[in-house]
């Protein structure tokens, strides 16, 4: 507001006498008392017009900040986060599917082949849209790593297949190499994309809902209203006319723009917070759980492929199981907590129950494999049936995916609604500020003309 006051105390024409230091109210008072009424009117007119324009600029800037935050949430960071999750999902599933296709021995099942191909196609599609959405954000580097690594991975898997179909054990070595690339480079990059997009989403959502700028705008509106009120009171005392139409129009425009801003900010904030609390927050927690579950599933298959080569994969399974839960401070329990009250809550709880059953089935698989019943162990993992590890995992993954999809809808609906609240607001605020400025000019120039 200092700027506005300075503008008032800094008249457009050079003052004939020595000016006191501008920018303070007592100085302004002395300055005004020293002048004739027309000069004071002229000064007031310029001051009010400038003040209205500054208000318009400030309001428009703050609205554009919020609108761009909301736009970023809906248009960039949320799709990017989703793409990152989908890339991870697809790649992790491709890894597990390629592994279990080898596991089954003999000719690879057609269903497994199709699933692998669909996974790769999906990963490529999401990689492309994520690259478009990422622009120059930090995720771009990880996306470049993924784009470069994916063809290498598929090349190694196809080499593995070709050797496998010739009946050569070299195929298994290529599969191990491919899987090492996937787990060592590609999956961590996909995880980073998601994490970076989530951070971006939090920042953008904060920008669209943050309170400090809204409070600044409120303070500015209060000051403007006070100045308009004082100006009209002063005019009334000087001229003894009750209403000045120009200033009334300006006041009405100020009230309208303030109401519009307040309602828009309030409604958008509510929508965007809802989108986060019952949308993107549970989605992110559920996605983290799903990613961990997929990793454990790949471990289960790879342990059987390595046929006891070493127990690194089984050790990893146990680590992931510990992280996934359910239990205090585990991914699944966190996801269930985050999803509470959202449409995905039911599926999230079902996932937590299924996870426990899956671990039990996994232990059966390990017990069979450790006691020389490799074939039976493989059957439990690769075929479906009651109590089969493969079936239970599919159910776990399905529950998590369903919960993610349900909360995704909540997010999109509310985030889009929150963003749309800002439609026209920026232009509206500017137009109203121009009306205010015009009203002030017109109202005071009418009075000025009476002195001619």
């Amino acid at each position: 507001m200092g700027a506005a006051v300075t503008a008032v105390g800094d008249p457009p024409r050079p003052a004939p006498d020595t000016r006191p230091a501008p920018g303070t109210r007592p100085a302004l008072g002395q300055f005004l008392r020293a002048r004739t009424t027309p000069a004071k009117l002229r000064l007031l007119m310029v001051g009010l017009v400038v003040l209205c324009l500054i208000w318009g600029g400030l309001a428009a800037w703050i609205v554009s900040q919020r609108a761009s935050g909301a736009n970023n949430v809906v248009g960039t960071s949320e799709p990017l986060s989703l793409d990152g999750q989908q890339i991870y999902r697809a790649l992790s599933d491709a890894d597990a599917t390629a592994a279990s296709a080898f596991l089954s021995g003999g000719l690879e099942p057609l269903a497994a082949r199709h699933r692998y191909q669909a996974d790769i196609a999906q990963a490529a599609a999401h990689l492309e849209s994520a690259t478009a959405a990422a622009g120059h954000s930090p995720a771009a580097r990880d996306l470049a790593k993924l784009s470069a690594g994916l063809p290498v991975y598929t090349g190694e898997v196809e080499t593995a297949r070709a050797n496998n179909r010739l009946g050569l054990p070299l195929g298994a070595a290529y599969l191990r190499e491919a899987s090492a690339l996937m787990r060592g480079t590609l999956l961590p990059a996909a995880r980073d994309v998601s994490a970076q997009a989530d951070a971006q989403l939090t920042a953008a959502s904060g920008q669209a809902t943050g309170l400090p700028l809204a409070l600044l705008l409120l303070v500015a509106a209060g000051l403007l209203g006070y100045v308009l009120y004082r100006a009209q009171r002063w005019l009334f005392q000087r001229t003894h006319r009750r209403l000045n139409p120009g200033l009334v129009v300006a006041s009405v425009a100020a009230v309208v723009s303030l109401l519009w801003l307040a309602v828009a900010f309030f409604v958008a904030r509510g929508d965007l917070l809802e989108a986060r609390n019952h949308g993107s927050a549970p989605v992110a927690a559920l996605a983290r759980a799903d990613i961990a579950a997929l990793q454990a599933r790949a471990d289960e298959s790879l342990t059987l492929i390595d046929a006891g080569g070493d127990d690194a994969f089984e050790a990893d399974f146990k680590t992931v199981e510990h992280r996934l839960g359910p239990g205090p401070a585990t991914l699944l329990t966190d996801a269930v907590t985050a999803a509470r009250g959202s449409p995905g809550a039911g599926s999230a709880s079902a996932a937590a129950t299924t996870a426990t059953a899956w671990y039990a089935a996994h232990r059966t698989v390990r017990a069979l494999d450790d006691n020389g019943k490799h074939t039976q162990a493989v059957r439990l993992v690769t075929t479906s049936g009651p109590g089969h590890s493969g079936t239970l995992f599919t159910r776990l993954d399905g529950s998590l995916t369903a919960a993610i999809a349900a909360d995704q809808v909540v997010f999109r609906t509310h985030a889009v609604a929150g963003r749309d609240v800002f439609t026209g607001l920026e232009v509206g605020v500017i137009v109203l500020a121009l009306i205010m400025a015009a009203g002030c000019f017109r109202g005071l120039s009418t009075r000025l003309s009476e002195y001619r």
């Binding site: 080898f102 021995g105 003999g106 050797n163 009946g167 050569l168 054990p169 298994a172």
Partner: protein
């Protein structure tokens, strides 16, 4: 690729003598991992070591009451630590998902001697580096895994009599000019971790750069991708790798001798004698020759003769 049959027996005898002479420095080389126990008594024992001499069988294979074989029979299956990636010796056949090969034939013969059924076996695929720990921990009853008998290993496990004679050579891509390790100084040469081959590469006077991987097929992946210039290990293993890639060739002569034995825990001398009895049957009843012809090819040499401790 193989020396003719008439050369094999003298070669074996020569090599057996050579091994005895080579045993002391050889064992020192393998045990030089930052010595936790500067084992002087072990070195003294190694000096007197005759690596290929094993325990004499007490007769035809018989499962005596209270023997280790009786325990295995009570369990219902034999547990064998095997390779899953060495074509023709121990490999997971992708076509049927079964582990097959020359080593695997030996295991089936032992299972048949215990159970009367060659298929009562649980195969546990292990890497080269896991062979000794798996035997010593009792996780497996026996290891059949292209495993060279030497005095250093005899400190840790027992071996059967020699059931196969191999020797280290070099595999390169077919356009390579290298003829032996001598031409591969400064080049990357692959072998599995924990194998005698990697120790031999490390010890080569031309100073190739040893690259250690878990499985032999991993070496072929690296060779095909141009990450290593050569693979150097037993000719038996190299044959299996060359069979998977027609653009490779095996070059140079055998420059080591690698007599293969089945590794058994030192806790079970009765099982060593039993296995030696089984191997002796295979040598004489034509099964050894049949396995050789099936997995390695013809002409079939005479099986390595059994050599027992005095």
């Amino acid at each position: 690729m193989k020396p003719p049959a008439w050369l094999r027996l003298p070669a074996v005898l020569l090599m057996t003598a050579a091994i005895a002479a080579w045993a002391v420095p050889g064992s020192a080389a393998v045990t030089t991992r930052p010595a936790q126990h500067p084992a002087r008594p072990a070195a003294a024992a190694a000096a007197a070591c005759d690596p290929t001499a094993s325990l004499r069988p007490t007769g035809p294979p018989q499962v005596a009451r209270g023997s280790f074989m009786a325990k295995i029979r009570a369990r219902g299956y034999l547990i064998a630590g095997v390779d899953q990636s060495t074509f023709h010796f121990g490999y997971l056949n992708p076509l049927d998902g079964k582990i097959e090969g020359f080593d695997i034939d030996m295991v089936h013969a032992i299972a048949k001697a215990i159970f009367g059924n060659p298929n009562k076996v649980q195969f546990k695929a292990i890497s080269d580096a896991q062979r000794i720990p798996e035997v010593r921990s009792g996780a497996v009853d026996i290891v059949a895994h292209t495993m060279t008998i030497n005095c250093a290993r005899l400190q840790l496990v027992d071996f059967s009599t020699v059931y196969f004679d191999a020797g280290q050579r070099v595999l390169v891509e077919s356009n390579s000019r290298a003829k032996s390790l001598a031409d591969l100084g400064g080049k990357r040469v692959c072998a599995t971790a924990g194998s005698t081959s990697i120790a031999n590469i490390r010890a080569a006077s031309s100073h190739p750069i040893p690259v250690a991987v878990p499985f032999w097929t991993d070496c072929l992946v690296l060779l095909q991708q141009g990450d290593v210039a050569a693979i150097s290990t037993d000719d038996t293993i190299l044959d299996g790798l060359a069979a998977q890639d027609p653009w490779t060739k095996i070059v140079g002569p055998r420059f080591t001798s690698e007599p293969y034995g089945l590794a058994i825990s030192q806790q079970h001398p009765d099982f060593v004698r039993f296995v030696n009895a089984v191997l002796q049957q295979l040598r004489t009843n034509g099964q050894w020759a049949a396995s050789y012809a099936h997995w390695v090819g013809t002409p079939v040499p005479a099986p390595p003769p059994a050599h027992y401790k005095a």
